[in-house]
Amino acid sequence: MSDALPVEVTSPTPLLELRGISKEFPGVKALDDVSFAIYPGEVHMLLGENGAGKSSLMKVLCGAYRADAGEFYYKGEKVAISSTADAQKLGIAVIFQEFSLVPYLDIAQNIFLGREPKGRIPGTIARSKILADAKHVLDTIGFDIDPSTTVDKLGVAQQQMVEIAKAISQNARILVMDEPTAALSDRETELLFALIARLKADGVSIVYISHRMAEVFALGDRITVLRDGRRIDGVRPADVTPDQLVRMMVGRNVDMTYPRNFADKPGELLLEVKGLTASTGISDINIEVRRGEIVGLCGLVGSGRSEVARAIFGADPTSSGEIIFDGKSMSGEPDLAARRGIALIPESRKSEGLALLRSVSDNLVVSALKKLFPSGLFDQRGAQRTSDALIRQLRIATPSARQTVGLLSGGNQQKVVIGKWLAAGSKLFIFDEPTRGIDIGAKSEIFALIDRLVAEGAAALMISSEQVEICHVCDRAYVMREGRIAGHLTRNELTEENIVRLGMHHA
């Protein structure tokens, strides 16, 4: 522990310490001799690029993965954590990056899964108690919802809140949050931050993984940076600048201003949406996108941005309105849109973007099959060549193009989803939260990529919940509210305040 930080005098021994943790997956050394200490009542930020091993380390911590090597010390005493039960006994609770919710159970049952209050008859559950307890926990985190709602009815943000409630309810001493805000809107994020402050005051230690630099400085008491499965350094937020952190994470300098060559003169009209209405809850949508520009689509979670994207792409049926692409009216299934040159990078890469069991190569060429093999005859080597080129171009961290895509880290998976549309040579790219769960290095690469695409004559429509990104990157933006376009912001008007003002209800 040579590189351990000077520790606060009040708590000389860490609450929990991991020493020399190693974990290998086929072809990947996910963790290599990582040591990590958590002190009582601190918020410990864990940073690193996609695939750096953050989630893996936390899964080892909570007993979900068994480490190949390494030791655990709880309050200075050596302990074994070989199952989630062990970890729970030590007071460790985790909010996972992937949800651990059961869709057809209600919120209360999900929160207390495995810890149900016993009913009078053995084996049964005290229904009124579980509901009351759940209500109590939900109130603690400021989430106002009926706990007997089944989880399948909830949106992503709401599910994330339930996930948080579930972890809180365990009264943990150590709470791990793996990118908890990735799916939250600002309102919920604020609630979460307030909650974190309260927990901290109660002496709960929090390990917090995030790709959002602002959060790192707003919340963190201490920062540990991982890179390629190794612990690079541990620092205090006061002692570093964002740039330094980024350099630690990626091992080189990264420009975080997302420089763009804004189009002074937008190109010809590529996409024109007129009065689009769909049963998914959007109505009278009017949007224009020209070649060479990046158009933002912002608004609160649930304002219908994804629905607009899906309707344009033909993924949802529309009831009225017109979509004119490249001068011609268009209506039909996604295959038609794709053939015409529209690309959709969907909101959920795992369920909508990737065939997780197939290889990186298979996923990269799937949209470009017609283009790459005009004869209709498929050739594995040709596919391999194309995907190797894309892997290099996008810097996808994978042992080979043959690797199963489900084994890549989230950020690299996202790159694969984008890569498949590059291969297809699309003209209009619709990005739905393209940087969700993506590290800073990858983020700037992706923005650079989008910039290059539009510079070469393509166009982009970008949905993002991170208003900073919209403001930095977009030429102009539409703001949505309750399924309608609430306003349009030109390059000069594009500020976070304006977005919020237009997007808020009854502004």
Binding site: F25, P26, E333, P334, D335, E352, L354, V366, F378, P399
Partner: protein
Amino acid sequence: MTDISKDAMMPPRSFLSQDAIQMFYRLLAALLICAVLAVLSDSFLSLGNILNVLRQASLTFFIASGLTLVVLTAGLDLSVGANVALSACIAGTVIHKTGSPALGILTGLACGGIVGLLNGVMVTALRIPSFIATYGMLWVLNGLTYWYMAGETLHGFPAGFRQIGSGYLFGLPIPVYLLLVFLGIGTLFAQRTIWGQEIYAIGANPVAARLSGIPVARRLLLVYAVSGTMAGLASIIFLSRLNSAEADIGESLTLPAIAAVLIGGTSLFGGVGTVFGTFIGALILTLVLNGMNLLSVSANWQPLVTGIIVILAVWLDMKTRRRAQ
């Protein structure tokens, strides 16, 4: 967590593709069965017997090859056997009525194909899970066939037509040539065409496939129609081989075909498997039944042995195949 750590223990991908290794194991198993049978029965290794095995395997293979495509899309077609029965009966009637085998063959294939297409429509347009849709179809087809045949048997077909099922060419039964042809076509289609790739993609994740611009509904229609048409082909082979057709021929064909697909390493979850594997699967099944006949094992043991083989084959497959969680 044991699953994940077990996964993690598996060897990394080697240069040989996973599928090739799987196929190698499977061939090895088939050869092993052959070796055991050759030791136990002197008649096993005779040319005649080997041709027998191939010919018997071919009928299962025709049905199972189309089914493989369906299973690759994570679907299932339980109606194949009933489809064979109906197609055989209709094709047989056409041959009887018109005297033209060619017309009969076309009708049989068309009938099979149309039934398959209807399955496809139920799965795509009506969005009924394939397992249930084809189970419903199975009974509808049975009802139709029973009504149409009214307990009669069709029999006695022109000699030329009968050659397809029972004739020889250069010492090899004609179904064996057909088997090789369709094995080739099936493999090429699945592995070497973009349609094949799209089918794998659909099986692996239908939602992602649709959002990747694959016309999922059309491909599924194609796959079910192909499966139906292959059942139609099997009905023609059946008709010409047995020189007759009756309403109940289908029932005993479905489960062996599914078993062949599974033994052949195609995953019911879709996206994994090959037509060649199905061929080996059909071969292994046939070999075992053939062996039991040669050794005069009571037929009471057949379901038991088949059951064990199916489980064993899939288990070994999983042991040797590395999967993402």
